[in-house]
């Protein structure tokens, strides 16, 4: 297991280099250099801020040197400061000349996005497992068809459109749920429990919207996995032994069908992180997605590059955890690694 862990972590190094190469390449897609007027850089930017940008990315040096210096800064997790948001550091808090602490942009935004994504994943998995199991048991009957249609419609609904409709009907007309931000006015005065409840109320719509598009893939996966396993010999044996159908389904079949979901979970992380852009900008939630969107609109390049890199590193970590969890959960692989 330890060998596997070391191998798996070492494998991340070439991946990180690849990611840094692609990010670096994207930055150089802009016509001219990114500070010139031909590119999409804000034409109102002062010569001083252009100079700063050139210094930050060493744009006057040969391209190989540029990449080397950029990589050196990335390795030290130094993404520079934002141009737009009062020069706040991109990643982590820093003290300025006056001794005031400037909080990092990603430092503030990341926990919010992580919380939303964790809740979303939890919801997707519990609903998908339920729907997938029902569909598999009632294969090709009406419940199966209804569930399949439901998850397909869920995938096809444009999230921003549904968000708009729900915001309007639940937030404006009926005022059941808050429609923007994370906290109500007077959040500080609430009790601890009240604060949690308030936060959950603010997260309800964004989490619901983010989870809809993910249902289709995973519930179909559970359904097909269950159907395949239900046809296998050990299930026939279990039934022949006279086990209750409930036990056959929930203990023998579901357990085996759920195992590959760990890998799927790892693979769905980049989609979820990317999807947070739309949900967060609609509901004005100050997470990574909104930060990224605002940075793109402002052409705030240090923030764009920082989030792109951090988002990819998070995905790699997510995949690592998923792989380790899979190895730990499946006795066949666990034994194979122990040998």
């Amino acid at each position: 297991m330890l060998n596997y862990l070391i191998k798996r972590i070492l494998w991340m190094i070439p991946m990180l280099i690849g990611i840094s190469l692609i990010s670096f390449f994207i930055m150089h897609l802009a016509p001219g250099d990114i500070t010139s007027n031909e590119s999409a850089f804000n034409p109102k930017a002062s010569e001083e801020s252009r100079q700063k940008l050139r210094e930050l990315y060493n744009l006057d040096k040969p391209i190989i040197v540029q990449y080397g210096l950029w990589l050196k800064r990335i390795v030290q997790l130094d993404f520079g400061s934002s141009f737009a948001s009062h020069q706040r550091p991109v990643l982590w808090e820093k003290k300025d000349e006056n001794g005031n602490i400037k909080p990092g942009l990603i430092q503030k935004a990341l926990p919010i996005t992580l919380l939303i994504n964790l809740l979303t994943i939890l919801l997707i998995f519990s609903i998908s497992i339920l729907l997938g199991t029902i569909a598999a048991i009632k294969k090709n009957k009406i419940p199966d068809r209804v569930i399949t249609l439901f998850v397909f419609v869920g995938f096809a609904i444009p999230g921003f459109w549904l968000a708009l409709i729900l915001m309007y009907s639940l937030g404006v007309v009926n005022q059941v749920l808050p429609i923007s931000g994370l906290h109500s006015i007077g959040y500080e005065q609430m009790s601890k429990l009240g604060q949690i409840f308030d936060l959950l109320k603010h997260l309800a719509l964004p989490v619901f919207i983010s989870c809809l598009s993910g249902l289709a893939g995973i519930s179909l996966y559970v359904r097909n996995g269950m159907i395949e396993i239900l046809n296998q010999d050990f299930i026939k044996t279990a039934r022949a032994k006279g086990l209750y159908e409930k036990k056959v389904i929930f203990v023998h079949t579901l357990k085996n069908a759920l195992l590959p979901l760990i890998t799927i979970l790892g693979l769905s992380i980049p989609g979820l992180i990317g999807g947070s852009v739309i949900a967060e900008s609609i509901f004005a939630i100050p997470g990574m997605g909104k930060l990224f969107y605002d940075a793109v609109l402002m052409r705030d390049f240090p923030v764009v590059m920082g989030i792109l890199t951090i988002g990819s590193i998070l995905t790699l970590l997510g995949n690592l955890i998923a792989d380790l969890a899979y190895a730990w959960a499946d006795p066949r692989i666990r034994r194979g690694l122990a040998k």
Binding site: P14, M15, G18, I19, I22, S23, I26, M27, L29, A30, I34, S39, A40, T148, F152, V153, F155, A156, I157, P158, G159, F160, W161, L162, L164, I165, Y168, V172, A216, L220, L267, P270, G271, I273, G274, G275, V277, I278, S281, F292, Y293, A295, V296, L297, R299, F301, V304, M305, I307, L308, G311, S312, T315, L316, N319
Partner: protein, 270 residues
């Protein structure tokens, strides 16, 4: 073809995308009005006999804009998927047929691309370039070829060992000929499925980008655009938000149903 019609899922999908496709192709003839004609005297009219889907805040006919928007949305979806499929077939063929160092490099590139959140990647590229319909097609295409690559490679790996390929090799057929006439036609099923499903995703991505104001730029109509323009008026002009959303929903659903139905058919064959 007969199988597509027999499966209710793919039949429904096929009907939906045919209707929308025909409406899009003949948008120029079917539109009752010029989609960009601004009429100050007909602002925010609700749907009636003349304006089937009402008018927007500039007095433009929403039905005409929807038809032209269908053209743009489908064009972006299909061209983007065309780009990603071509890249995927080329890279997947090279990786699966030649193996070795080329395979290693291509598959590592796939892993790297898959670990960058694709919506972030698309937005970042658009931040450095100016958003235009061509840039959007290219960017969506360049960020979604990984699935096809893996698929073609996997198909080639299993097909390569089969006798008919060995026979072709023994007869002295060139690599190019073997790939083009023996391997590719036999892997067509999964490629078609992933292409059809890819169009659904690309249409969604385009509408999302346009909704964020980073997609197709005004005055060109796309479904995402119409929705963005309409969201300001949701309280008194529901038709501006309802129709484009429904159009995206139905189109994406159509492509998904066709894709999943086809997948079922191909799975049964093998």
């Amino acid at each position: 073809m007969r199988k597509i019609i027999k499966n209710p899922m793919s039949l429904a999908g096929l009907i939906i995308i045919s209707i929308i496709g025909i409406l899009a192709i003949f948008a120029g003839y079917l539109s009752p009005f010029d989609p960009n004609y601004i009429n100050i005297n007909a602002i925010l009219l609700s749907p009636d006999g003349t304006h089937w889907m009402g008018t927007d805040a500039l007095g433009r006919d929403v039905f005409s804009r929807m038809l032209h928007g269908a053209q743009i949305s489908l064009l972006v979806g299909i061209v983007a998927v065309g780009i990603s499929t071509i890249i995927g077939i080329i890279l997947g063929s090279v990786a699966g047929y030649y193996r070795g160092i080329a395979d290693t490099i291509i598959m590592r590139l796939v892993d790297v691309m898959l670990s960058i959140p694709s919506f972030f990647l698309i937005l970042a590229v658009i931040a450095f370039l100016t958003p235009s319909i061509w840039n959007i097609m290219i960017v969506i295409g360049l960020t979604s070829w990984m699935g096809v690559t893996r698929l073609v490679r996997a198909e080639f790996l299993s097909l390569k060992e089969r006798d008919f390929v060995l026979a072709a090799q023994t007869l002295g057929a060139s690599d190019f000929r073997i790939i083009l006439t023996h391997l590719l036609p036999n892997s067509l099923g999964p490629i078609i499925v992933s292409t059809v499903l890819g169009v659904a995703s690309a249409v969604l991505v385009e509408s999302g980008l346009s909704f964020l104001g980073l997609g197709v730029q005004a005055p060109t109509a796309s479904w995402g655009n119409i929705l963005t323009d309409g969201k300001e008026y949701i309280q008194f002009a529901w038709w501006l938000s309802l129709f484009p959303g429904l159009a995206i929903l139905i189109t994406v659903l159509g492509y998904n149903l066709l894709g999943e139905g086809l997948r079922d058919n191909f799975d049964q064959n093998t």
